[in-house]
Symmetry: C2
Subunit: 666 residues, 2 copies
């Protein structure tokens, strides 16, 4: 990585004048010095390993990318097996540093945990060993061509045959084909298949089965199995998202995952004790998306902010150099709220993980009381953060002008690979509606704060609904507590609006389904606002308890207020609802926001440097630490496959005949 | 194309119950029966021509795409040369139907028009003939590595040498390399190069020069020329956007385009009569982006709305089929405003073209008075419409859930190929600021409406600034004239806010540059709102003068109000500014919007059918006219290159060694 000294003058100036303690800030973002250190060690392992080289990544075709990813995947597995990488956090950091598709990744992230969580001890003895050794490679086959988020609608069947003590798996319709699972297309030998269990003629609903897909001798699909890749996608070139069609595929009885539900030899079915038990993995994956949202946006703003300092546009005053793009208020207004959002989501991730650990601890002790809170929070934060981050990456790309459109910027790849987080693991609107269900329940209960979990306590019946915001001057907005109160009052009002519409529906004779549907847009708005509040609160709490130098603390407060104020601008109508804020106050909020942009401008480059993203991981000609943008854009272009020959093959084949034909006419 | 009868039941039902006169609506959108007819003839020509086949398009690698596009390009040129396609409108429709990158397209759209517009008669005699015959192929080389929108900053030099009567072209710095021009990389033999003219030691600013780049014998770059492709991009795989570096490249004096400015044999420079003269082409291209915005969004909503009728999710009531996704209010709230926007932008395009024709007519007669209006309107509408359309395509993709992420949906390709319209031909924020400059000038003048051009008359000093909106019931919002007034009042207030901030800056001692920068976010907001008003107004005017059956007129009124009301929801804070609307009225607007969603639901499918987009052009498994979505997704996937072999090559190379190694340990 380039040193500070070798950077272009534009970036050097920014870094030299900074008052921040960068190392301290990086530690704060990582959650402690120890984590920073370990992360750096793992990043070093990756960037010094030639197999993970990624400087040609943007040149690869989809087919080349798959081969390259498979090579990296196997190398990654070997690192795990060698014991060089130990434990999940290390594996996570290591994988993040590889920063590429790994076709085998669902084996680690879905297949193995499912075996661990849903198998009996006997089953684990066999399958966990096989899977941990990578003697088999597994996918997790849930989504079907016709059904995604609505799991109860899945159509694949597993019918028990007591004569042979086997399950017979079938894809009875076109739409029942498994569709989308990663690792399934060409990599997996096995899969956990989600199917409707049918025994003694009765449909017992969704259960899990281990099915072998391909021969361990030659990798050919087994009889009754039709399997392949689902074809090109927006991104994820290196993944083999697959389809799976089954016709009378027989598996032994003990390949149903039987930790919670069982089918006996004669086909008698025993129900699981609770159907909420599978929440755990799902919540964990959603929490992971919140973490990822922060990291991805951090990468994008690093690229856009560094480049906006290097890039100049328009000589505004005679004799002066052209203005650096980051000095334009319009550019600051786009990028600095995103910078603040990246920080905010880092803290929201830490909050989310803490909540997860706390509540799953309770659940392990048999206390399921907080499960709805955990579920509602993770669903809503997943939706809000993936939305902010996806939109943010695109905005960063647009902020880089034409060069943002070049693959060399790294931003197109970042966008196409990250954007599906809005859809997978629960489509975002559906997720917001799940959070909203929780808000509906709470708001109908009309109970005092004391009876509510901490993060929704303000929806208690005894929480004050202030008539109007007390703010009289722009400066007063420079206070996270004032902002938090405004955010609370906004949610209180939005929930009331949604509830009123819902109850009006019920009162006018609609059933609950129709009344819910009629008020669902209002509910998504309320749910988003609640999650927005949680993110701001996580930001404020992190600062309140942080031990950092005053310069760091002070810029964190600025970012926190910037995040809060930008939300007020973005959703000003919601803050004016029911007269809580008036348009003069909105104007004051805006004035304050504009002042903060100037404060952030001063430390913008150090603030992205603090994310400490290695150049090799960033993989962006625009976002380089040294700012040597133009030379690298040129060198990169020279390496493009299309430039291998000075005269491209299309000349002989197409252009020459055209030019010759017409020439003879001259 | 499939007939109505062969469609899936879900779509059949929608079409059978419709009360609209579809053919009449299509004619209305096309601007008349005659245009519909001609468009269909040209579409037929394309879809029946095997060279233009595009069903494999999403499988092509970047290199394959370039070859395929070049083949189509040559075929297209042959169609033009054969006289089968005559005149610009026909060529436009024909090219639109081809719906693919054409590497030679800049020859037609930029090189030729520049020769036509900027050459002397003598020059035309030579170059227009060569170019029209395609004896040479030209690019338009303006943008450089370091400069895009700020044209005055271009660094390429053309220094006149009176001894040899030649210009000597140079790329004096790394950043001066030409970068981005399409057709330049591997296709063009010549280019119009934009460079600083230096003669008699003086820099006379930007002028145009014809430079031969490659030998007409073997297509090799000529001495002093370094040329190639700039590498992979987000989209446009089939285009060879290129770079060009020149070292002492000499061209004869008569290859400077001398219609307006001249350099004599001895190097004496004569200025052009006005430097506004080049506005014409730029305005035309921006108007074209408005037209394209409407078409692209129409394609995306066609896909998303048809698919949302076919797709079902969640069994909401026992015994009933799962709900069609389009019946969810949340889905309607996303898609119907986009449907309304696609219609609105169709009418805005017609308005834009009419304005263009009218004002360029005046300019041709030497009257430049309306040029600022034309410039401001085209810049702002370009920005607003390309923003609405890009964001809209992405939202449509997300509305299609997981399958929207598949290339088979057609939406990823649509997005990556259309999104750069936000950046090229003037970056959108810069465009809005140009519109804003015009608004600043008008608002500072403080003149009566009568002295202002029609579309900004409401900013006249005598236009009433109403204290508050007169609306008392939701239904009252069902009136385009009420909505238009609200839009005007919003702009009046936003302009006042921006102007106040600007003047405060000046009063506090800032220079004009700093005061402008400090108020620039406010100005972009005001400019966007003004353009938003123009689009709504174009919609309303089109309906007011339309001759259609009552059912068609009625649904057009619904869409127009939906468009207006959605804007109020989206920017509610701006409508509340200075108390014009209050939060009760915003609530009423929302209620009315929700009612309109239900009305649109009834005719949603016919409304997208009316865009009359041929299945082969749509090229989407999800958006097919017959709705046979799942079967086609499957058939498409089976054809993917990665499925050529049942066992992928990566097995032998990577997976087998891994699986074998571990197996021996068992």
């Amino acid at each position: 990585m380039a040193t500070a000294r070798s950077a272009v003058p534009e970036l050097r100036v920014e870094r030299e004048r900074s008052r921040l303690d960068l190392e301290q800030l990086t530690n704060f973002l990582d959650g402690g010095e120890m984590f920073t250190e370990r992360r750096r060690e793992l990043v070093k392992l990756v960037v010094e390993d030639p197999v993970y080289k990624r400087d040609d990544k943007y040149f690869l075709s989809r087919e080349e990318a798959f081969e390259s990813s498979m090579r990296k995947s196997i190398h990654y597995i070997e690192a795990l097996k060698s014991g060089k990488i130990k434990g999940r956090p290390d594996a996570y950091f290591y994988r993040t540093a590889i920063n590429d598709d790994l076709p085998t990744v669902l084996h680690d992230s879905m297949f193995l945990p499912t075996i661990e969580g849903q198998c009996t001890e006997e089953q684990k003895e066999k399958w966990l060993k096989l899977a941990s050794n990578y003697s088999i490679i597994g996918a997790y086959a849930q989504t079907e061509l016709g059904h995604g988020t609505f799991i109860r609608g899945l159509e694949t069947t597993a019918t028990y045959d007591p004569l042979t003590e086997e399950f017979v798996l079938n894809s009875p319709t076109l739409t029942s084909m498994k569709w989308w699972p990663g690792t399934l297309g060409h990599t997996a030998t096995h899969a956990v298949v989600v199917a409707r269990l049918i025994t003694k003629g009765k449909d017992e609903g969704i259960h899990l089965f281990i099915v072998q897909l391909r021969s361990l001798e030659d990798h050919r699909p087994l009889p009754g199995i039709k399997i392949g890749d689902i074809g090109p996608k927006f991104g994820y070139f290196g993944m083999d998202n697959g389809f799976l069609h089954m016709t009378n595929v027989r598996i032994p009885r003990d390949q149903m995952l039987m930790k919670y539900a069982q089918v006996s030899r004669d086909g008698t079915y025993s129900k699981p004790p609770t159907d909420k038990i599978t929440y755990g993995t799902m919540v964990f994956v959603r929490a992971g998306i919140v973490v990822q949202s922060a990291s991805i946006l951090a990468r994008a703003v690093t690229i856009a902010i560094r480049y906006s300092v290097v890039r100049r546009q328009t000589q505004n005053r005679p004799g002066e150099p052209e203005t650096q793009v980051l000095d334009y208020q319009t550019q600051q207004f786009k990028l600095f709220p995103l910078l603040a959002s990246a920080y905010a989501m880092k803290f929201a991730s830490q909050y989310m993980l803490k909540l997860y650990v706390g509540i799953t601890g309770e659940i392990a002790e048999g206390n399921l009381e907080s499960l709805p809170e955990l579920h509602a929070t993770s669903a809503g934060l997943k939706a809000l953060c993936s939305e902010i981050s996806s939109n943010g990456v695109e905005l960063c790309r647009l902020c880089c002008g034409g060069h943002g459109y070049s693959a060399a910027s790294g931003l197109p790849q970042l966008y196409v690979d990250y954007s599906p987080a809005q859809t997978y693991e629960g489509e975002n609107t559906v997720m917001l509606l799940q959070t909203a269900r929780y808000l509906l329940k709470i708001s109908r209960q009309k109970v005092p704060q004391a009876q509510l979990p901490n993060n929704v306590a303000y929806l208690g019946v005894d929480y004050p609904k202030y008539k109007e915001s007390p703010v009289l001057t722009p400066k007063q907005f420079n206070d996270p507590h004032i902002l938090l109160e405004a955010y609370r009052q906004r949610v209180i009002r939005l929930v009331a609006v949604a509830l009123r519409r819902y109850m009006n529906g019920i009162d006018s004779g609609l059933d609950a389904v129709a009344a819910w549907n009629n008020s669902s847009v209002d509910w998504t708005v309320a749910a988003r606002a609640h999650c927005h509040y949680l993110v701001l609160k996580a930001f404020q709490s992190s600062i309140d308890t942080a031990e950092m130098c005053e310069a760091n603390l002070s810029i964190m407060r600025v970012l926190c207020c910037l995040f809060g104020l930008f939300g007020i601008m973005q959703y000003s109508g919601e803050f004016c609802l029911d007269g809580y804020m008036n348009s003069d106050q909105i104007e004051m909020a805006k004035n304050q926001l504009y002042s903060l942009l100037k404060e952030v401008r001063y430390e913008a480059v150090p603030l992205v440097d603090a994310f400490d993203i290695h150049d090799d991981i960033l993989n962006s000609c625009l976002g380089r630490y040294d700012g040597d943008v133009y030379r690298h854009l040129y060198q990169w272009a020279l390496r493009a496959p299309r430039n291998k020959k000075e005269v491209h093959d299309t000349y002989e084949k197409y252009l020459r005949p055209l030019l010759k034909k017409t020439k003879s006419k001259l």
